[in-house]
């Protein structure tokens, strides 16, 4: 995916959208010349197929499905461009979210079956715990129990996958049009969710917990500090340098409104300490 040619146009488009956003925020009508230039830039980017597909992969579905208010649409467009700029420069992100080739929305699992392929347990707090690899085969061992305990004791919402990742991997961008992901996107907006905690487990970790936040791009420092404090207090060894994150964290975190953290838990770690630490974390938010 080469997109060097239209990269400067993307940067300029971001600048133009910011100007229009400012005008609207101040109650002024946007300058017609600026609008014309913006449309011209968008049309230029549209001609670059790779850049166009990369930009599409950064757009929230609500922007494409609904007639949202102008200010909201502008904000979503600007954020989509920001994500695309980051992805253009850091190819590692693309491979982590499963965007190794231009993204096309297709479904490889029947729609009628896919609507039953997740479980959502309502909570009270504005945090949602997601467990995208909770069903066998190739499930993350022990993580469903941990997630249920944390959700029960902290009052967080809980999203569980009911299908193996062999068929639908909710932590990859190819699953974005699947009912589970669309539902998750809606819940985040409708319930005013502030944070998404994506839970995984692995038997190959050096520490009890590895925190993934795309090098801090999906979570503010203040939230990360609270998490670290909770882990330390409960004697849980952790690292921030390990796991990068997946598509749930990348796509559903829209700073400053919604943050996302991927937490990878070692199968050898003491479960009660981790449950306690993460419950404390959710409660303190």
């Amino acid at each position: 995916m080469s997109n060097i040619e239209t990269f400067p146009d993307l940067i300029r488009l971001h600048g133009l959208l910011s100007v229009i956003e400012d005008d609207l925020a101040d109650g002024r009508a946007p300058d017609r010349r600026i609008l014309k230039r913006t449309i011209k830039r968008i049309r230029k980017i549209r001609k670059d197929e790779n850049m166009s597909l990369l930009l599409t992969s950064s757009m929230p579905l609500s922007f494409l499905l609904e007639d949202v208010r102008n200010d909201v649409a502008l904000k979503e467009m600007r954020r989509a461009i920001e994500r695309t700029i980051i992805m253009s420069k850091f190819r590692g992100i693309r491979s982590k979210i499963g965007l190794n080739k231009p993204m096309h929305y297709i479904m490889t699992y029947p729609v009628e079956e896919a609507v039953k392929a997740f479980e959502f347990i309502e909570g009270m707090r504005p945090v949602v715990l997601t467990v995208p690899h909770s069903s066998p085969p190739f499930q993350d061992k022990g993580i469903t129990g941990i997630a249920r305990e944390i959700a029960k004791s902290s009052g967080a919402h809980l999203f569980l996958s009911k299908i193996s990742r062999v068929f639908v991997d909710y932590n990859r961008c190819s699953s974005r049009i699947y009912p589970g992901r669309v539902f998750l996107e809606r819940i985040i907006v409708e319930r005013g969710i502030k944070g998404v905690i994506d839970l995984h487990s692995s038997n190959m970790l050096e520490h009890d917990v590895e925190i993934g936040c795309f090098s801090g791009q999906t979570v503010p420092k203040s939230v990360l500090k609270i998490l670290e404090e909770c882990l330390r207090r409960n004697n849980v060894k952790y690292t921030k340098e390990g796991r990068f994150g997946g598509d749930i964290v990348w796509f559903h975190s829209i700073l400053p409104d919604v943050w996302g953290i991927q937490i990878e838990i070692s199968t050898n770690a003491r479960k009660n300490r981790i449950v306690k630490a993460l419950t404390n974390f959710v409660e303190r938010l």
Partner: protein
């Protein structure tokens, strides 16, 4: 003459519904566990295989055989495919031996087969012989590419007879003619520094009197390459002389073992013919229309038309049959052919193209990425909400157009060789949920997601 052949074949991993499954690591882990408990199978694997490796895409896996005589190769290929398929079944997966996945290759990931061949009287081919084998096989690459092209469907659409591997692969570049040069010391360019830590490499003068150069930068990722210490390939400089061989990489996967083995046999036959020509003192030069024919073979496969040295035009299949008539006697010395290639029938024709059931109206829009659509539904119908409840949809609906695929295929002991039917059904993802679309629905508006951005800005101007 001793003719040794080695094969490298990439395979896809599928889930039970026929879509790519990205768990090669789990499969290999399982395979190692199983092999360590089964002494007989382990011994067999050791004798046939150099190793099994994963590719950058986790839905691909590759086995590499040891160099062996053709009579052994048949057993080795069957064993290797069965070995991987067995591990796939035990990890709830299947293997697909095709070149492209008919839906998810877009156009990547792509599979291919590498055939390594060496001909010698004492186990170590001379540089002169290697160069001749390389030039001779390279001269016949158009025929080989055309008759092995095997990627009938890509991204849910008919691709034709062309070779997707050769069209879309980012690492298969055309190779140039080989030259022999005497160079006791080599310079490795900065851009190739990852291949060796040295910038200057000294050669053992007595052993390697000359260097075979088919690419000035020593790049081995070509459709055909000479491998071994007497080349300028930085990775090969310190390998053993007996590993010298010619590697043909521009071959699509063949679903059946018969076609796969016959392809290897034909390449070995050409190598044998080259050695005979060298013995007769014939100098092998590049054919006149090689590049033109190569490009035609890549684009049109078995349907291509080649230009012969004299300027006459012949069908690729006829040109292939002419070649087969010539090398038949050498092939018979190595082994016997068992597939339709003997009669000039490529596998793509023999096993046929899957049936595609499509909703063309929507497919065309999707192809052009015009997926933000407004449709007038031709009748009332049930939609499915995100949580599974039903809702009635009628009139106009706006949303995202996408296809739902279902695949029909035959599986034999964990191996899928062919897809029989590809069914595409289009849905509209609206804010209420999923609405099934039918051909009689009217598309009022269809734009690309980026075009939708422009519309939003235009709307601002109007306001």
């Amino acid at each position: 003459m001793q003719v040794l052949i080695g094969l490298e074949e990439e395979l896809f991993l599928l889930n039970k519904m026929g879509f790519l499954s990205r768990f090669s690591e789990f499969l290999l882990h399982r395979l190692v566990r199983d092999l360590s408990r089964d002494r007989d199978r382990l011994e067999k694997a050791r004798s046939y295989l150099m190793g099994i490796q994963w590719e950058p895409n986790p839905s691909q896996i590759e086995y590499v055989t040891r160099p062996m005589e053709f009579s052994e190769l048949r057993e080795a290929v069957g064993f290797s495919r069965r070995l991987i398929a067995r591990a796939a079944i035990r990890t709830n997966q299947l293997i697909y031996v095709g070149s492209v996945h008919p839906v998810e290759s877009n156009p990547l990931p792509l599979n291919g087969t590498h055939v390594n061949v060496s001909v010698s009287s004492n186990g170590v081919p001379s540089n002169k012989l290697l160069a001749a084998i390389y030039m001779h096989i390279r001269n016949h690459l158009p025929e080989i590419i055309a008759m092995t092209a095997n990627s009938p469907v890509i991204n849910g659409r008919v691709h034709g007879f062309g070779s997707a591997r050769m069209i879309y692969s980012r690492v298969l570049k055309p190779s140039g003619p080989v030259i022999m040069r005497r160079r006791p010391v080599s310079f490795i360019p900065w851009r190739e520094r990852s291949k060796t830590r040295y910038g200057v490499i000294f050669r053992k003068m007595r052993l390697f009197k000359s260097e075979l150069v088919f690419d000035p930068a020593g790049d081995r990722l070509k459709e055909i390459a000479i491998r071994g210490p007497s080349t300028n390939i930085p990775e090969d400089i310190h390998t053993a002389k007996r590993s010298s061989r010619v590697e043909v990489r521009g071959i699509d996967n063949q679903a059946t073992e018969e076609y796969l083995l016959d392809t290897a046999l034909i390449i070995a036959g050409l190598a044998y013919e080259a050695s005979v020509l060298v013995g007769r003192g014939v100098k092998i030069r590049e054919r006149r229309n090689l590049q033109k024919n190569r490009n035609r073979a890549i684009k049109h496969g078995a349907e291509a038309e080649f230009i012969l040295d004299g300027g006459e035009r012949v069908k690729a299949r006829d040109s292939f049959i002419l070649m087969m008539d010539r090398i038949g006697e050498y092939i018979d010395l190595i082994g016997s052919m068992s597939s339709g290639l003997k009669e000039g029938i490529p596998e793509i024709i023999k096993i046929g193209v899957p049936e595609i059931v499509d909703q063309e109206k929507f497919s065309k829009l999707e192809e052009r990425n015009r997926i933000v659509v407004k449709v007038r539904l031709s009748g009332e119908r049930n939609g499915v909400s995100f949580t599974g409840s039903k809702f009635r949809a009628s009139g106009e609906a706006k949303g995202l157009l996408f296809p739902e695929y279902s695949l029909k295929f035959r599986e034999e002991n964990g191996i899928v060789r062919k897809f029989d039917r590809i069914e595409k059904r289009y849905w509209l993802l609206s804010k209420e949920g999923y609405i099934p679309l039918v051909e009689s629905d009217d598309v009022i508006k269809a734009i690309t997601p980026v075009g939708h951005m422009a519309k939003v800005i235009e709307r601002l101007g109007e306001a």
